[in-house]
Symmetry: C2
Subunit: 234 residues, 2 copies
């Protein structure tokens, strides 16, 4: 297999461990206010509102908004569920920007750095540009460009998001590879003509709660991003 000219990346779950990072961020903000919650359950609940918030924009005509804005709405939705109240505006803003402070899986930056030697690398995430920049600066992701939802003004798995990324780099979809730990993302990328690479994140949603292997046909599958690079001969 020839090496793709560009690698596109899902980010939440694929390159960064949103779950334990958001649990830490929630604890850092809310524990000093006297709350003792199941912080991982809080992270799961916040992330649990992710798809339905994007569905409003994807399928129900709501004007495009950055993911930061959707995260804020989702946060306000779950706080009462955990009986949290009286959080100041500054604290809410800080907690919402916890999504800018997620930590990477250990192989992410080394894997990206290897792939970048031969090919272009860019996130094609539902996260907004400023969020992607913050994660890159925190974790050393050497992006060539920030692509994804804010360029396309829509959210994956809508075709426009994959295709806008290819168009931004002047590449036909067949010269681009979408890399994700989620088979659903890869199935949609493939439907739009992109090549696909799966990496295993078996603990994304907690121990044993992630995809250890793809459930759809993919062009390459790796145990992690460095393994995927090796399997492509990079």
């Amino acid at each position: 297999m020839t090496v793709p000219k560009a690698f596109f990346f899902d980010v939440f779950g694929t390159l960064v461990d949103w779950r334990t990072s958001i649990a830490r961020e929630a604890e850092a903000t809310l524990k000093p206010l006297g709350y003792a919650l199941d912080w991982l359950a809080f992270a799961d609940a916040w992330r649990g509102e992710y798809q339905s918030a994007m569905d409003e924009i994807r399928y129900k005509g709501r004007t495009f908004e950055k993911l930061d804005v959707l995260h804020r709405g989702n946060l306000e939705k779950i706080l009462p569920r955990f009986k949290v109240s009286g959080v100041s505006e500054a604290q809410l803003r800080h907690l919402n920007l916890g999504w800018h402070r997620l930590d990477a899986w250990p192989d992410s930056a080394p894997g990206l750095t290897r792939l970048k030697r031969q090919s272009m690398v860019a996130p094609v995430s539902n996260g907004n540009i400023s969020l992607m920049v913050a994660l890159a600066r925190r974790n050393g992701f050497p992006w060539d460009a920030i692509l994804g939802s804010e360029i396309a003004h829509d959210f994956k798995p809508k075709p426009r998001v994959y295709l806008a990324a290819c168009e931004a780099l002047d590449l036909p979809p067949g010269e681009c590879m979408m890399v994700a730990a989620h088979s659903s993302d890869l199935a949609q990328a493939a439907k739009n003509g992109l090549r696909t690479g799966h990496i295993a994140r078996p603990n994304e949603h907690g121990p044993g709660k992630g995809e250890p292997a793809p459930t759809v046909p993919v062009d390459v599958a790796g145990a992690n991003l460095v393994d995927l690079a090796s399997k492509l001969g990079i």
Copy 2:
């Protein structure tokens, strides 16, 4: 003065030497076909069509197109002027992508690397994303994101281009600094609330034909990008 949270950069002329690079690219393509032109005059003529092509989009209702597309139209406009004909489509495409192979002024990458330690750095150029990525990969520009015309769907000096860049990074204009070797660009950035930094490129259009100093008020002026960083205490 506090350090801006983001530095935005003009690219053509400010970070890269388009004139001698395009002269070299034109010679590399056209000399083997038997042409002996004044290659610097060819570069000047090609660049000379730059503003009027963008004006069609900025002010005359033409749908936004990437700069690569405008460069191609401009190339076809000037070839007859130099009595060049019979160039194959593949050669025209290669020559047009000469704008992706421009060389940087020697202080550009070291200066950007220094500024990036403290602040975000992004091009806010009229060039398209793929062109900016190619120049960055060739010259080691460590961009955090590629902003500019393709994000804004318009060309500088239209306000939207400056403001879309600030919005992409969630920053008010006053926390962003536009850096350019062109006073006209900086005057427009300032009008939109951005801070401004000038760097001298006295030979951009040939010996002594560039701006040795700003002709408008700016927040900081440097002999080059490393000097500008030093003047900001970075």
